[in-house]
Amino acid sequence: MDSEAKAAPDGPAVSCRGVGKIWAAGTARAHEALKGIDLDVEPGEFVVLLGPSGCGKSTLLYLMAGLEKQTAGVVDYFGDPVTAPSPDRSLIFQETSLFPWLSVWENVSFGLQIRGDSEPERRDAAKQVLRRVGLAEVGTKRPDELSGGMRQRVAVARALAMRPRLLLMDEPFAALDVQTRQKMQDFLLDVWRESAASVVFVTHHIDEAIALADRVCVFTARPGRIKEIVPVDLPRPRDPFAPESEALRRQLTALLKDEVDRAFAEQEGLLEVG
């Protein structure tokens, strides 16, 4: 893709400074999901957010996408503050978020229709993107006729059709079986290399983080803070059984264990109080 070549200013794609989010701020149900997040995502970089569930990873993605507003700090996208969602930043969800009433190609070209492209243009674009994700044959099927892995590939295709410079992925492969998940990781790396977009990828799976990331951000339990950023300087495709991978796995497991323990302790504390 060439869209980022023409307009890639220097500096990070996403820049978070002191970002915090308090849900339902000012009400009795207010609770802090994120606190003091400082994070830069470079253009073309693959960043994985790793942390116990409930630590605010999805919340951070929503802030980057512009779907929610942070309550502290700034989120910049190529130097401009994020104020609203944009087709340039695509979000892919864990659960199927395909429109069940549209065929696969109509799903893929949904954003183009919103933009006002004509039908022939949309058909062409959808065909091209579907070919890229290896689903050229299923354009006329409906989402419920596809397997889980194919559906997520369609979701990726729908995001790619907008030629985003940032792909935000919220545990996109969590619902898939192990074999499919590995295939999807390889597939995602291919797509990422080809598109040169930046990726922010949420997971709570250590192996997934090791397979994909340029850098892994490990989160603390609630309120989510960045505990440590672990660079992964291994060539891809990565051997999960290489000694370097083992070392990383040990390091990340140790980092996570503390937080999972803390999250559990907090929940038990809550139970005792309540």
Binding site: W101, R153, M162
Partner: protein, 315 residues
């Protein structure tokens, strides 16, 4: 059931595997025959079910348990069609100068009566659906509309449609209009509130996808929310179909002109059990047909919704 035509669906389970094993296509069967093969057993079972019920009734009659004056068996009340049909006669024979033998044939008379009732239900349902979808959507779209209308709608929704009958007559006198008005009233409030509830229940992810694609509020409603709520609202419509038929019969029995409700009232007032059961059979048949039509509509319009009936059959 036949599997042959759906073989290609399962062949595409995995993109790579799909190429090699396209199934040797079965001998193409004409669509019509295929369909007939599917519905024939269904029709057979329906006939058997109804037939068994009628047979028990007839046996009770033969045994002398069922008094034919009060519980005339099917062969009595269905037997003399012309005799029943004369009560459906819509010709105004009693008027001066109208000949005794003029007017529609028995079949025509029954059809005119049944179709005019069905027409009232159909028109009422259509108006109520469009109105409820528009009002419910407008309530969520504009806060001002919600503030202005929702309290009134919430207050009026538990009122039984029967209470509206006098209003229908004050407003519309007699004829089609009051009966249609009653159907609209019977459906409108439930469907409006169902529309609002379903809008609130739309999967947030679908809306967020549209938002990240840059959709405006209008586009989100038109392209995501409306299609997403249609199946649920349609179910509410099907559930309220019974209510629609009921209020039409009631409205007709109060004299809005010819209609099934009027014939039932006549049967009641003249103590004519045969006619009562004849009407019940007709209404059953109508309800069955209407529900079938609704399911066909659902298949056409809401093609992406899988029919969940029978999913528990394998247990």
């Amino acid at each position: 059931m036949s599997v042959s035509t759906h073989a290609d669906q399962s062949a595409g389970r995995d993109g790579a595997a799909a190429d090699g094993n396209t199934p040797p296509s079965a001998r193409p069967t004409p669509v019509f025959l295929e369909r007939l093969r599917k519905i024939l057993p269904q029709i057979g079972w329906t006939l058997l079910s109804v037939g068994t019920f009628a047979l028990i009734w007839e046996i009770l009659w033969v045994a002398g348990v069922a008094d034919p004056k009060l519980l005339p068996p099917p062969h009595v009340f269905l037997g003399d069609f012309a005799d029943q049909a004369k009560f459906f006669n819509t010709a105004q024979r009693w008027q001066i100068g109208v000949s005794e033998s003029s007017g529609p044939s028995p079949w025509q008379a029954v059809m005119i009566t049944v179709l005019s009732s069905a027409m009232r239900v159909f028109v009422g349902i259509s108006i109520a659906s469009i109105l409820a979808l528009s009002v419910g959507t407008a309530i969520r779209y504009w806060v001002a509309v919600e503030r202005l209308t929702l309290p009134t709608i919430t207050l009026l929704s538990p009122v039984s449609p029967i209470a509206w009958l006098p209003v229908a007559i004050f407003l519309f006198g007699i004829g089609n209009a009051p009966a249609i008005f009653m159907v609209v009233i019977a459906l409108f409030f439930h469907m409006t509130i169902a529309t609002i509830n379903h809008i609130d229940g739309v999967n947030r992810n679908l809306i967020n996808v549209a938002r990240t694609m840059g959709a405006t509020k209008y586009q989100i409603y038109r392209r995501v929310i409306i299609p997403a709520i249609l199946p649920g609202v349609f179910v509410i419509l099907r559930l309220n179909l019974f209510g629609a038929w009921m209020v039409v019969l009631i409205a007709e029995s109060t004299g809005v002109g010819y209609g099934l409700g009027q014939v039932i009232m006549l049967a009641r007032n003249t103590f004519n059990p045969s006619l009562v059961f004849f009407c019940i059979a007709l209404i059953g048949l109508l309800g069955f047909t209407t529900d079938w039509l609704m399911r066909m509509t659902q298949k056409r319009v809401l093609y992406w919704v899988n029919d969940p009936s029978g999913v528990l059959r394998g247990l």
